[in-house]
Symmetry: C2
Subunit: 356 residues, 2 copies
C-alpha cells in the first residue's frame, strides 16, 4: 500500500508531461462506408470545446487527480459517447453550446466507470496502456473515479436541466447494477444468455442510450424523438459490447488495444463462451466448467479459442451484434434524412465492422 | 477473485436475514448534558421515515446490492448526518417531508464513502463489524458504493431542488479530493498540520456542512442562515474527525467499535502522531519516520502510544476539537433560542465528550 503511494508520487512528474490527444489513431483501420469519421467531422468544433471543458474541469489542486484522469483521457479513445451526445443534438437541429458541456459530463461518467473497472476487472491493459490501477493502485482509481463522477454532476447542475440530471443519474445507477450482476456471474458457467444480455444492456448500453437521449433533451425535442434516440443508443451500445466481447477471443487485439483472453482469464462468461458451452459435448462442457469455475492451466486459452472456432460462436456473436445494429438504425426512422442521420447510421456500421 | 464471488454468494442467504436496527446502542455511554439524545428525540418521527426511505430505495433486483448495503446500514451507527439534516430543517421551522428524503440522500452518500473507504483503508473493523470489503471484496464495495451514490442523485432529482443538487454534488467532489489528498499523505512523515486539516475538512466536514445546509435550503431560509448552518456543520465535522483520530490512539476502542492503532498501522499521519513527531527528540523522530515511511515491527504501537502519552498530543487534539466545537456553536448565534438549537449544541458536546 505504501509502495503504491510512493510509486504514485514518483510518477507525478513524468505523468504531468503527458500531452493530451483525442484524434483517431492514424493506424486505426477505418472502413470507408462503415466509419465514425462522418460523425467526427460533423461534431469536430463542438468536440474540441468538449475536450477543452474536460481538461479544464478535471482540474483539482490535489495533483494526483488531474494526473490520473489525464492518464486515461490521454490514452485517447474516440470519445464515442460524447460524440453521440453532440451528434444527437445536431440531428435534432440544436446548435447552442449546452451539449458541449453535457458531452463532457457523459465522458466523465464513462471515465469514472473505467477507473472503477480497473478495480473490478483486474485487467492489465486498456486501450493498450497500463491501467491507472497498475500505476496507482486500487485506492487512487476508486477515489479519482468518485471525483470525476461528482464533478460530472456538478457540471449538470450548472447546466440546470433536471431532465438531464434524471437521465444520467438513472443511467449511472443502472450501470452499477449491471457491473454488480456481472460480478455475480463471474465464475458461473450456468450464466444464462438472458443474464448476460441484462449485464451488457446495463453496464454498457445504458450510457450510450443516455448520451444520445441527452442530445434530444437539450434540443427540447418531443418525447418520441427523445425515446427514439435513447433506443438508438441502447441498441448501438449492446451491439458495441457484443463486438467487444467477440474481439476478446479474436486476433483483433491490436484494433482493440486489449489483450485477447482477458475475459477468459477473469472467468467472465460472455456470449462466445456461453454459446460454446451450450453447444459443447460432455468433455467440452467439463473443460468450460473447470476453466470458468475452478482453475485454469497453461494452454487453456488455446483450447478455448479452438472450441469457439469449432462451434463458430464468434460468428453467432457478430450476427447478434448486427441484429441490434439494425434495431439502432430502425430507431432513427422518424428523423428525416440528413447528413447527421447518415453519420449516426455509419457509426453503427463502424461499431460492428471494426470486428473484421 | 472467484473465491470472493463464491464467498459473496454463500453469504447471501444468511445476510438476507439480517434485521435492520438504527437505535442508539444501549450500552453506548451517553453523558446527560453532552448528548445526541435531545436531537434524536426531536427528529424521531422524521428519522423513522428517512429509514423507511433508505430501506426502500436501496433496493435493487441485483440481490448483492441491498444485501451489501444492508450490511453497513444494519451495522447501526447513529445516522448522525441525516439527523443533522432533519434537525437543521426543524431549527429553520420546516415541517414538510422533503427533508426526510434528502436526509436519506445524505446517508446514501455517506454509506457509499464508507464502502469506498473499505477499499481505501484496508481497515478490518468498522463499527465493530467486519467491513463489507472483507466479506465481499474490493469490487463489490466499489460497485455497490457507486450504486448508492447514483441512487442518492436520483432521489435529489425527484426532490427537484438544483440548490440541493449543487450542495451535495460539490460536497461529494470535495470529499473525493480530501480522500485522495489523504492517500498522498499516507507514509509521509513530513505531512504538515495544514495538510492534515485540509484532509479532514474535506473528507469528513464537507458532508456534515452539506447535510446541515440542506436543512436550511428545504426550509427556504435566507442565505445567511444557510451559511450559518453550513458553518455549524463544517466545524462540527472537523471536531468530530479530530476526536475520531484521537480515539484511534486511546483506550476508547469500545466506544468507537474500532481497533486502536488502525491509522498507525496504515501509515496515516493524523494530528496526535504529527504533533508527537514535531515535539519528539532526534531518536523519537527516527522512530516515527521508520514506522510511517518504512516498516513497522512488533511493539511499535506500544512505543507510539507511550510517545503520544509523553507529549500529551491526545490532549492537544482534544483541545483543537473543543475549539472547533466552540466555532460550531457560535455559528448558531443568529438563530433564536429553541429546543432545536439546544439539541444541536448538545450534539457538538456529544461529538467531543464521547472521547472521555
Amino acid at each position: 500500500m505504501l509502495t503504491t503511494v510512493f510509486r504514485a508520487r514518483k510518477r507525478l512528474a513524468y505523468e504531468a508531461t503527458l500531452s493530451v490527444t483525442v484524434e483517431l489513431k492514424e493506424n486505426e483501420p477505418v472502413a470507408v462506408k462503415a466509419s465514425l469519421q462522418p460523425l467526427m467531422d460533423l461534431v469536430k468544433q463542438d468536440l474540441d470545446e468538449t475536450n477543452r471543458i474536460i481538461l479544464d474541469r478535471m482540474h483539482s489542486d490535489v495533483e494526483l487527480i488531474p494526473t490520473l484522469a489525464r492518464h486515461l483521457i490521454a490514452a485517447g479513445g474516440k470519445r464515442l459517447r460524447p460524440v453521440l451526445t453532440l451528434g444527437s443534438a445536431k440531428l435534432c437541429g440544436y446548435d447552442g453550446n449546452r451539449a458541449q458541456k453535457l458531452a463532457a459530463c457523459v465522458e466523465f461518467i464513462h471515465t469514472a466507470t473505467l477507473l472503477h473497472d480497473d478495480v473490478v476487472d483486474e485487467s492489465d491493459l486498456r486501450r493498450g496502456n497500463e491501467t491507472a490501477n497498475v500505476l496507482w493502485g486500487n485506492q487512487a482509481s476508486v477515489l479519482v473515479g468518485d471525483f470525476l463522477f461528482s464533478r460530472s454532476f456538478q457540471l449538470m447542475v450548472e447546466d440546470g436541466s433536471l431532465d438531464v440530471l434524471r437521465i444520467l443519474s438513472t443511467a449511472s445507477a443502472v450501470i452499477a447494477e449491471g457491473e454488480v450482476l456481472q460480478l455475480m456471474n463471474v465464475g458461473d458457467i450456468n450464466t444464462t444468455e438472458e443474464s448476460y444480455m441484462e449485464v451488457i444492456a446495463a453496464k454498457t448500453a445504458a450510457l450510450f442510450a443516455a448520451a444520445c437521449e441527452v442530445g434530444a433533451v437539450v434540443a427540447d425535442r418531443p418525447a418520441d424523438e427523445c425515446t427514439a434516440l435513447a433506443d438508438y443508443g441502447q441498441n448501438l451500445g449492446i451491439a458495441f459490447q457484443l463486438i467487444d466481447d467477440a474481439l476478446d477471443y479474436s486476433a483483433e487485439q491490436q484494433a482493440l488495444g486489449k489483450a485477447v483472453g482477458d475475459d477468459f482469464r477473469e472467468g467472465k462468461v460472455t456470449l462466445p463462451l456461453l454459446l460454446a458451452f451450450q453447444k459443447g459435448n460432455a468433455e467440452e462442457q467439463n473443460f468450460w466448467t473447470r476453466v470458468v469455475e475452478d482453475q485454469q492451466q497453461e494452454g487453456d486459452l488455446d483450447t478455448a479459442l479452438q472450441l469457439i472456432q469449432k462451434h463458430q460462436t464468434l460468428g453467432a456473436t457478430f450476427d447478434a451484434a448486427k441484429a441490434y445494429g439494425a434495431k439502432a438504425k430502425k430507431a432513427l426512422a422518424l428523423f428525416p434524412e440528413s447528413a447527421e442521420k447518415e453519420a449516426l447510421i455509419a457509426a453503427v456500421d463502424f461499431a460492428i465492422e471494426r470486428a473484421y
